[in-house]
């Protein structure tokens, strides 16, 4: 089995096959999605295209071109045709950015952080507070907000500034958390970060009194979005609408806009992570992860390096938090639960601890599983139940399936099983870090 795949891989990983396969996938995938926009298979075929782009050997210029084509033209067009795909990709971007940040903390510096979404919350609530009417509701009971309260910031373009502020505040939160606890090792750190994550969530939930800062469990809404220039939009419409096949509203433009924004953050995150990793700082992190005593004896200041890892990791989450708040126009404490932290951790490890492409793929897989594959699967089963379908051999009518066995209710169960199986068969992650790969190849090098 494994052999078959590796043979297949080697045989298509050379010209001209690599080009044919990649562009073929792009073309066929796009066409399929264009024609049957609700088919999961079609979308999966399309999603194979970026994978092929990443794995197959091709001229770098052409790779870049194909990547741009896919990200800037194909996905937005298809995404506007079926807004759901854009949402899937947006969420993948959001979580990929979070996973990249967490990967710095865990994968590079080896600090197990179980409360990572706290930093995401810091970013999100920063913009939620200033970009909403909350400032004028400080003294009103949550839920009883007067509808005519003004926005605090007249110009929503402050948003751009707040992306940076979010980065700064999240990094600061990282340092504040780090200062007292970095002396702790391993799981002690894990439990304290877990606690910190809970503290931030509990604060979000409870800081509606004595002064109403977060509006408590009600959450803050509405939150402003930055202005999009109407002239620009009209210009784009001219090209886009014929491609999409129907008129494009401003709201749909916002979806595209946030998709691009998230994409930019991802690109920045990848570049930052790559560059830090390949520098004195990255090496120091790895050294700390491997052996603290030896690292400190080499002159590496432990505390400063760890704080830096916390701050760098946190800042991605901060930026994404701001964008998330604007995208949803609503934040509430539910988004920042412990399970979210666990979810991001799962993405990192599933994808491949320490591996940048790995954690992105990890994010994609988990998001995909959660909001598409399992959902689609259970919808399919539930439509079977409503139909007259019968399982042939045992002659069992789907209709008679006990409602307790309703598959829609057992997504978490399936997800759990998938996690266990993945870990057993691919403990090094979907795309293992170079480091681990090298370890496996071992003697072949040099």
């Amino acid at each position: 089995m494994r052999k078959f795949f590796s043979n297949l891989y080697t045989s298509i990983n050379k010209e001209p096959w690599s080009y044919i396969v990649t562009f073929g996938l792009m073309l066929i995938g796009s066409a399929l999605v264009y024609m049957v926009p609700r088919s999961l298979m079609a979308f999966l075929v399309l999603m194979l295209a970026p994978a092929a782009l990443y794995f197959l050997k091709m001229n770098n210029r052409i790779k870049l071109f194909a990547g741009l084509l896919l990200a800037v033209v194909i996905l937005p067009v298809l995404g506007v045709r079926n807004i759901f795909y854009l949402e899937v990709i947006f969420q993948i971007c959001v979580f990929a950015a979070l996973a990249l940040g967490l990967n710095i903390v865990i994968g590079l510096a080896g600090l197990l952080d179980l409360g990572y979404v706290a930093f995401y919350a810091v970013g999100a609530y920063t913009w939620a507070f200033f970009g909403s009417k909350q400032m004028s509701l400080l003294y009103s009971v949550p839920g009883a907000a007067p509808a005519n309260a003004p926005f605090f910031l007249e110009n929503p373009d402050w948003f751009w500034f707040f992306i940076f502020l979010g980065i700064g505040l999240a990094a600061l939160a990282g340092i504040l958390l780090g200062l007292p606890v970095l002396r702790l090792r391993g799981d002690y750190l894990a439990i304290v970060t877990l606690g910190f994550g809970e503290v931030i969530r509990v604060l979000a939930l409870n800081l509606d009194k004595p002064i109403n800062i977060t509006n408590g469990p009600q959450g803050i809404t509405p939150i402003q979005r930055p202005n999009l220039s109407p002239d620009l939009l009209n210009a784009i419409r001219l090209v886009l609408e014929p491609l999409v096949g129907h008129s494009v509203t401003d709201a749909q433009f916002y979806n595209v806009f946030f998709y691009f924004l998230a994409l930019i953050i991802i690109i920045v995150a990848v570049v930052v992570a790559r560059r830090l990793e390949d520098s004195r700082i990255g090496r120091a992190w790895t050294a700390i992860r491997e052996d603290e005593t030896a690292a400190i004896a080499m002159g590496i200041p432990l505390v400063r390096m760890k704080l830096m890892a916390f701050a760098a990791g946190a800042s991605f989450a901060g930026a994404m938090g701001v964008i998330y708040a604007a995208n949803r126009t609503f934040v509430s404490p539910e988004t920042f639960s412990f399970l979210q932290s666990i979810g991001v951790l799962t993405m990192v490890i599933l994808g491949g601890l320490g591996s940048i492409p790995g954690v992105i793929v990890g994010a994609a897989v988990v998001v995909f599983l959660n909001i598409q594959v399992l959902q689609t699967f259970s919808l399919y089963l539930s439509s079977l139940r409503q139909s007259d379908a019968v399982i042939p051999i045992i002659n069992f009518a789907w209709k008679n399936l006990s409602t307790q066995l309703d598959p829609a209710k057992y997504q978490k169960l399936i997800f759990g099983v998938i996690l266990v199986i993945m870990m057993i068969f691919r403990p090094e992650g979907l795309i293992p870090a170079e480091r681990r790969k090298r370890e496996l190849v071992g003697e072949k090098e040099e």
């Binding site: 606890v181 666990i342 169960l413």
Partner: protein
């Protein structure tokens, strides 16, 4: 000096002292210490704030609920402690956070309650001796949870030996999701819903009333609280003996520290790990039944928060140390209870019980700053 030393040595090597008196003494000392410290603190605060806030009876109100607050804290502390024992057991050997322990605990509770419900439908519950009944329930919970834990280890952790540390953690999380929904599925198929409600039986809900001279109101302690404390202490003593006084215990510790070398000593590593999970799991099962007795309602998701708290307690006490797990639980319980009861009173409702977790975590951090390996944990530094 020398003679004294040898007397001490004799004393400390006496098993009764080592496994019964010493840990119980430690627990008592900590309960008293933490209880008195916190009590003094709130009384002081009450006096300080007496004038500054509008309600004048602050001191009286503080004192009136103090005994109850202490008992509440100790009770919930012991609940955390029972769960924490199981965590610590497994952590001690595999050095990984067995996330699914919350679910193993939950399963124990559900099974125990289902037994009681079964007895109730058979009509035999009322007629039986309540202690026999609860012992049966605990036993069943232990058997089921223990075997479940062993199975989970076999299926989800053993194939991952030697993988990086975080990999079994994710597997454990997966297992945890799986178990939650699997229990829901089974409950759903059999009873149609997933609330599991403890039938009323025996006198566990009744109070023992203690009158202390000098106290305005008598101190009331529920029978089930007394049972909970007693069972937990027995569990601790037994466990302490098992780990520190028997050959199996020594093998467990050896496996924990160095698996290959342990196997070179003739220890069957797989067997020892299974035994550890069996013990940890059955402790979880017993904890589950006791928890059910205390709170009267369970569902498949009920394990999560107590599990989290218990793990915190284990860390606070010095993870891997059994008595430490218990102390951690008690300290955490007391902190929570004091926080929840007094924050509202002192801040005039500006901050209430919902901040108890923040308070508890703040103090956890403070304790860890001064004792980076927990209350009773020792640092045995590897030499440079």
């Amino acid at each position: 000096m020398n003679r004294q030393g040898s007397v001490m040595k004799q004393l400390t090597s006496n098993p009764i002292y080592k496994f019964v008196l010493f840990p119980i003494g430690q627990i008592l000392a900590f309960i008293l210490g933490a209880g008195i410290t916190l009590s003094v603190l709130v009384i002081l605060l009450a006096y300080i704030f007496r004038g500054s806030v509008s309600n004048l009876d602050l001191v009286e109100r503080t004192l009136a609920i103090l005994p109850k607050v202490l008992i509440d804290g100790i009770t919930i502390g012991f609940v955390y402690a029972t769960i924490a024992l199981g965590y610590t057991m497994v952590y001690g050997v595999l050095e990984f956070i067995n996330f699914s322990h919350s679910e193993i605990f939950m399963v124990g509770g559900v099974v125990g309650v289902e037994l009681l419900r079964y007895l109730e439908t058979q009509g035999s519950l009322a007629g039986m001796n309540q202690y026999v009944v609860i012992a049966l329930a605990i036993l069943l919970g232990m058997v089921i949870s223990g075997s479940l834990a062993v199975t989970v280890e076999r299926v989800a952790y053993r194939p991952l030996r030697g993988a990086p540390r975080l990999v079994p953690l994710i597997s454990a999380i997966g297992m945890s999701f799986f178990l939650q929904d699997a229990v829901r599925l089974i409950l759903g198929l059999t009873t149609g819903e997933f609330n599991v409600i403890l039938p009323k039986f025996g006198t566990f809900d009744d109070f023992q009333v203690f009158n202390f001279p000098g106290l305005a109101a008598p101190v009331q302690i529920q029978n089930k609280t007394i049972l909970l404390v007693a069972v937990t202490v027995v569990m601790l003593v037994g466990l302490n003996y098992l780990v520190n006084g028997t050959k199996v215990g020594k093998a467990i510790r050896a496996v924990a520290q160095d698996r290959p070398t342990a196997s070179l000593m003739g220890i069957n590593v797989n067997l020892i790990i299974s035994i550890t999970f069996l013990i940890g799991g059955s402790l979880g099962g017993a904890a589950g039944v006791l928890f059910a007795l205390k709170v009267t309602r369970l569902d498949p998701f009920v394990g999560f928060f107590p599990g989290l708290k218990a793990f915190t307690a284990a860390v606070l006490g010095g993870i891997g140390n059994l008595t430490g797990a218990l102390l951690g639980g008690i300290v955490l319980g007391l902190l929570e209870s004091f926080g929840a009861s007094y924050l509202g009173i002192f801040t005039q409702g500006a901050f209430g019980a919902e901040y108890k977790d923040i308070l508890a975590f703040a103090i956890l951090i403070a304790i860890l700053i001064f004792r980076p390996s927990g209350l009773l944990g020792q640092t045995v530094g590897q030499k440079a």
